[in-house]
Symmetry: C2
Subunit: 402 residues, 2 copies
């Protein structure tokens, strides 16, 4: 096992904050001495989204820690899912059957295992211990925390202030997650900064119950391709881990220059020393485009090892060799009108064309192309994705941003 | 079974408030038709105090309802007692064993059965249903109420405002009591006005769980012999139900005139029509002393049926025949200095005596008497109780008020 210092360096890469750093060092020292990996906890909702690079930040960190010799436990928070909405107010939130929960979990974990090491991961359902707690044990759990402390959580304090009702049962959701850490004797819990309250509650509950508290590793929220908003599917500024190699490669090439180092830190497994190296090179004036080629190769190879070369070749042919200039103005389009026909008003507005009929004329003449491919009348319902390059007429280019 | 109107009249006698009066009428109407008594719930702590007339207010009302054909269920709140103090902060509050709880409950219920009808009463322990609830059921229970609603309870809102920590488990105590009403399918819950929050929560939880809500009968807090403070052992202004008949008789005779009707209403089983009658007589100028003789007979006979006559005879001999005037000034004494030696400074202050040596001289000469009995040097540690009449010298009298 690597030294404590080396491990700390890898764990800290890109992390927003580590709470309990001293304890983490002690745990790592013990792990090194005893040649026994630590338990890393990751809590997940039983919902099953398509995973994109934003989700990968936490998962890659787990992978890196697994490479260091530690074990991951993924906790599927099925207990709340099984209860459904006990107030009966939210129609959408009905109790899920055991089978539905397991099925959802499988769709999700199948994707997760494309990043974390399945051999060093256990998937558990928190209902298996939570459903066994009786009232007396729940009371002891509740006694670990004050009402004021829970009301401090951002969403609760906001709702309380604005007289938006909070059901008493809702106070138990952070406690349940905290109890998961007790049940698992977690050494480290990892999560996004939006999980700060719950993860720290796990720490304090472990202490309260006489256990060694877990260290908390908080990873930042990844910005999407636009460089501003959180990466998310609904904003269209994402790179999905299931997207074809060529799309993935192209999208990484669209990443804002200012985010290059951040992406190196958060969505690759590159060694921190190497990241520092690259940072220095950029500062010395290295062309960001060349660094991005390297980044695109690294990221694409994490998900499509065999296809990286081809993806790069395709990119060069489609974009560079087709005379698409490097410096293209951005065209921000409406998410609800994101196909070719839908953006005609925007193109008129921005003087790319003089009118809709101007556009149709150009289209009929083969004067409109997307990423180097000439479009026809049949492509009017073609959905544009973030980073697409549209060529209108002989000289005008627009890079689509959603 | 008596008519609904007649029953309502008896139930309402002396009650501070009835919540769900319309529902209560419906329940009673059904009880009359079906010849089946209602279930009256009374919740009690597992502590075992000496019962006095203050406690009897609620118990007598239950007895009156039992006479009307209803059944009482006394819920011993042993569940919280069994948990002890889950924060471990209060050393006094350790978890009680099943046997201790049963023993405490027996001491208490033995006294209760001197008032309520044992044949029509069931004693139950709320741990028998509460300990069986699992986390999921607890969550459903918690979902029945909002955080804001519980924080409205006087003691919680006070503590929250003043930043005095409230453990989350404490929020469950009112919910547990409320759940008792669900488990018992209580028709009526009775309690002091200090139980308003908890009893109304029982009502709303029953509704939430699809049951017919219980009616709530709130009895006022009884003033003690001083006519001001709540009757309580520690204030010394009480009449214990185990006190000898002669003391009980004498103490009732000391009750402030303004409280005669209140005592009739709250600590006797006299019919409401009769109480109205007495009230009219007093207003027409009947001597309160004569009414109090009747009241003393009634109250004493509730606890010492065979000894009432003798108690009255003793009272007349000890007080009236020994020349104790009716109109005696009150001497309020300090609870911490409540024996004969301890009140010497107060007697000097109020000019009953000129000094301590004056007092000792009078005592040695047989010039000090208590309730008509001459005191001696050996009586200096005699504790004085509320209502005692002290005679100092030939003409000075003081009625002790603690």
């Amino acid at each position: 096992m690597k030294s404590v210092e080396e491990q700390m360096k890898i764990i800290a890469k890109g992390a927003k904050e580590i709470v309990g750093e001293e304890e983490l060092r002690n745990k790592l020292a013990r792990a090194v001495t005893e040649e026994r990996g630590l338990i890393i906890k990751l809590g997940l909702d039983p919902s099953a989204p398509d995973i994109h690079l934003g989700h990968s930040v936490v998962l890659r960190k787990i992978r890196q820690m697994q490479e260091l010799g530690h074990r991951a436990v993924i906790v599927i928070g099925d207990f709340t899912g099984k209860i459904g909405d006990p107030t009966g107010k939210s129609k959408g939130r009905v109790a899920l059957s055991d089978e539905q929960v397991k099925e959802n979990a499988k769709t999700y974990t199948d994707q997760i295992f494309e990043i974390v090491d399945k051999e060093k991961t256990e998937v558990v359902f928190n209902s298996s211990w939570l459903k066994k707690l009786d009232f007396e044990e729940v009371i002891r759990l509740a006694a670990s925390v004050t009402v004021a402390r829970i009301l401090e959580r951002d969403d609760f304090s906001e709702r309380y202030k604005n007289n938006v009702p909070i059901g008493l049962h809702e106070f138990f959701y952070p406690l349940m997650q905290a109890y998961d850490s007790v049940a698992l004797k977690a050494d480290i819990e990892i999560g996004g900064t939006d999980q700060t309250f719950n993860i720290l509650m796990g720490r304090s509950l472990q202490k309260w119950m006489g256990l060694e508290p877990q260290a908390a590793v908080f990873m930042p929220i990844l910005e999407g391709l636009d460089g501003v908003e959180k990466m998310s599917k609904s904003l269209g500024n994402y790179i999905g881990i299931h997207e074809p190699a060529s799309i993935m490669f192209k999208k990484v090439m669209e990443v804002q220059d200012s985010l290059i180092i951040r992406y190196y830190e958060l969505v690759t497994d590159e060694h921190p020393d190497k990241v520092i190296e690259i940072k220095k090179e950029l500062e010395k004036g290295k062309n960001p485009r060349d660094v991005k080629y390297e980044l695109a190769r690294i990221i694409t190879s994490l998900y499509h090892k065999e296809e990286v070369e081809e993806a790069e070749k395709y990119y060069r042919e489609a974009f560079i060799n087709k005379g698409i200039p490097e410096d293209i103005p951005e065209l921000i389009i409406d998410l609800e009108k994101d196909n070719l026909a839908g953006i005609i008003p925007r193109l008129t507005e921005e003087k790319y064309i003089s009118s809709g009929s101007d556009f149709r004329r150009l289209l009929a003449q083969g004067g409109i192309s997307l990423n180097g491919e000439v479009l026809t009348q049949g492509d009017l319902d073609q959905v544009l994705i973030c980073g697409d390059v549209l060529k209108i007429g002989k000289k005008k280019f627009a890079r689509i941003i959603k």
